[in-house]
């Protein structure tokens, strides 16, 4: 019974993703083709260093398939994209898929570490802030949230570099081999995450603490710690999973700035380079991959909720759309 409803739910959610994905692919195509300038001309100019002849440009346009109407090019691109072929980079000549897959592990390592660090700080602090409302813990959570959401990561990143790499000399500033290179970039990303996560844990706990079953548990004489751990935290975890899932998608994309600061090869750096060179296939491929990934993460979060909380199963019968971002 439960199995059947879960698979119906999964199917339903999956089908609802199709139009979104089509939209994502159209958007990726349009954004990449928005750019002024002719890629063929730019490639030739870059190769030879001088303005190419009209004949050479026409020939390359033909080879790249750029002379076809946009709709044809879109369909051609989507058909290939579905088989995992996102075309070749204008800049390096390598397949876009290979480039993205190559850059991905570095970015994933960074974002997962940052998210983990964020959760490690946010869970206890958020719980304490909720249980000891309006105390120092609560204030600390407020300040952390404010700083985390307001201080740009490039300021934070450079301050960390100044302190740990320049003044103390204990950690390397830039590069990417080994865990020591991971510490500062992960901390930079984690600090901004911890703020939002702490506030959400706090809000979740406050809501749960008001629930009848907790009041009952307390009235029955169950110890405070036990109430918190066994009942409250378990239920407060729900929104945190949402946020962590949502944030993971953002972090993956948003590692841009941190990767630039710390000169870490990764998706963000690859794409910023591609944007500067107007490398359409890479940008197009990147947007579509990120959109897909984001949609899938949202789906995973929904499924997790579904599995965690039977009440949501009823609600989701009405096909609740994925959580906002």
């Amino acid at each position: 019974m439960a199995q059947a409803s879960l698979s119906t739910y999964l199917l339903r959610r999956f089908v609802s993703l199709v139009p979104v994905w089509i939209g994502v692919s159209i958007l990726a195509f349009v954004v990449a083709n928005l750019a002024p300038g002719d890629p063929a001309q730019m490639i030739l100019q870059r190769e030879t260093g001088e303005p190419p002849s009209a004949e050479a440009v026409r020939q390359l346009r033909g080879e790249l398939g750029l002379d076809a109407p946009p709709v044809v090019r879109y369909v051609r691109w989507v058909r290939q994209a579905i088989t995992g072929d996102l075309g070749r980079s204008y800049r390096t000549g390598l397949p876009v898929t290979t480039t993205l897959i190559g850059a991905f592990p570095n970015t994933l390592r960074l974002t997962l570490t940052a998210l983990l660090l964020g959760v490690i700080v946010a869970l206890p602090l958020g719980v304490l802030a909720a249980v000891r409302r309006n105390t120092a813990f609560d204030q600390l959570s407020r300040i952390l949230a404010l700083v985390g959401t307001s201080v740009p990561s490039f300021l934070l990143g450079y301050l960390l570099i100044l302190f740990f790499a320049v003044m103390l000399g204990v950690l390397p500033a830039t590069g990417s081999d080994g865990w020591r290179y991971l510490v500062l970039p992960a901390l930079t990303l984690a600090l901004s995450e911890a703020g939002a996560l702490t506030r959400l844990t706090r809000a979740g706990m406050l809501e749960v603490l008001r629930e009848d079953y907790l009041v009952t548990a307390r009235a029955k004489g169950v110890g405070t710690r036990s109430v918190l751990m066994r009942h409250a935290l378990r239920n407060a975890v729900n929104p945190i999973v949402s946020l962590a899932g949502v944030r993971l998608g953002r972090l993956l994309g948003g590692a841009f700035i941190v990767e630039t600061i710390f000169a870490r090869p990764g998706i963000g750096k690859t794409v910023v380079d591609s944007i500067q060179d107007r490398d359409y296939p890479t940008i197009q491929g990147f947007i579509v991959v990120m959109g897909t990934l984001f949609v899938v993460i949202n789906l995973a979060v929904d499924i997790f909720h579904h599995w965690l909380d039977p009440r949501i199963r009823e609600q989701s019968a009405a096909a609740v759309p994925a959580a906002r971002q």
Binding site: A32, P36, T149, G253, Q276
Partner: protein
């Protein structure tokens, strides 16, 4: 609100007040930038490179001998100006589209909401970076990119509000009295969504400032020599060892401006949202990178 009700609302008011003071200060600095120092923010002076604080240059000079304080003050014009224009565009588009979709429903609503779904399927900053990058550098690209990305969340929120207001008694009453659609929207619906939209805009302004600065920092936003704060941080990167203040000052300016908008937004939301659900927005915030 319970026992701490009074203390709470007092604290909240103070939060909003602190935010308001910070925001007003930055807006003021932007307006009176020429009066503050009397220096041209782009005037290069090769003799006075990387000078420390002095009477003539209270925050010293940068790597090209330009006065830091003037650059920071004029920077408020760039950063806040870009954000103000973008917010005006985003609100106009988001509110119009959301109202139309919520009010008329049907196919229009379906179509609009699918577009919104797609736009919200991306991390905002990432999409803004891609669009701004493809449009080419400069202030106009930045504003267009932010508008394309950010209107969708307004449209979704406004649509939801319009859907619920449409069913309220006073709208039904107005209809039965023969009021036209335009009259209902202008006199009954828009006034009721004004406060929430204004609060949303305040909160999102902080994120927009970060987005403008992020684009500037990545070199795909406003270009040098414009004293936009993110661009200034990017310019100062090569001097991290010798003159870290070239990055730290504009970085702090960004932080303080964003803190101002966040405090103001949080304060307003707490005042207008007595149910205390204010922490929920952390789930939905665009966040930063």
């Amino acid at each position: 609100m319970g026992r701490f009700g009074r203390i709470d609302s007092l604290l909240r008011d103070r939060t909003a007040l602190a935010g308001l003071v910070l925001v007003s200060l930055f807006v003021l600095v932007g307006f009176i930038a020429p009066v503050i120092t009397g220096h041209d923010p782009n005037l290069i002076d090769a003799v006075r490179r990387l000078e420390g604080p002095s009477r003539a240059h209270p925050l010293g000079t940068d790597n090209l001998g330009r006065d830091m304080l003037s650059r920071l003050a004029y920077g408020a014009r760039w950063s806040l100006g870009a954000v103000a224009i973008a917010t005006a565009l985003i609100m106009s588009i988001g509110v119009s589209v959301g109202t139309l979709a919520g009010f008329y429903g049907g196919l229009l609503d379906e179509g609009v909401m699918r577009v919104v779904d797609v736009l919200l399927a991306f991390p905002s900053l990432l999409l803004a970076i891609a669009i701004a990058g493809m449009l080419g550098t400069g202030m106009t690209s930045v504003i267009i990119a932010l508008t394309i990305v950010w209107w969708a969340s307004y449209a979704r929120i406004v649509r939801g509000m319009v859907l619920s207001i449409r069913q309220r008694d006073f709208v039904t009453a107005a209809k039965s009295l023969g009021a036209g659609d335009l009259h209902i929207v202008v006199y009954h619906i828009l006034p009721n969504i004004f406060a929430p939209v204004a609060i949303l805009a305040t909160v999102e302004m902080g994120e927009l400032i970060l987005a403008v600065a992020g684009l500037g920092f990545l070199g795909i936003g406003v270009q040098p020599p414009a004293p936009e704060w993110g661009t200034m941080v990017n310019d100062g990167r090569s001097y991290i060892m010798s003159a870290p203040q070239l990055m730290i000052y504009p970085g702090l300016a960004i932080s303080l401006a964003v803190i101002g908008f966040n405090l103001l937004g949080d304060g307003l939301r707490d005042i207008f949202d007595p149910r205390g659900l204010s922490d929920r927005h952390w789930l939905n915030s665009h966040g930063q990178q």
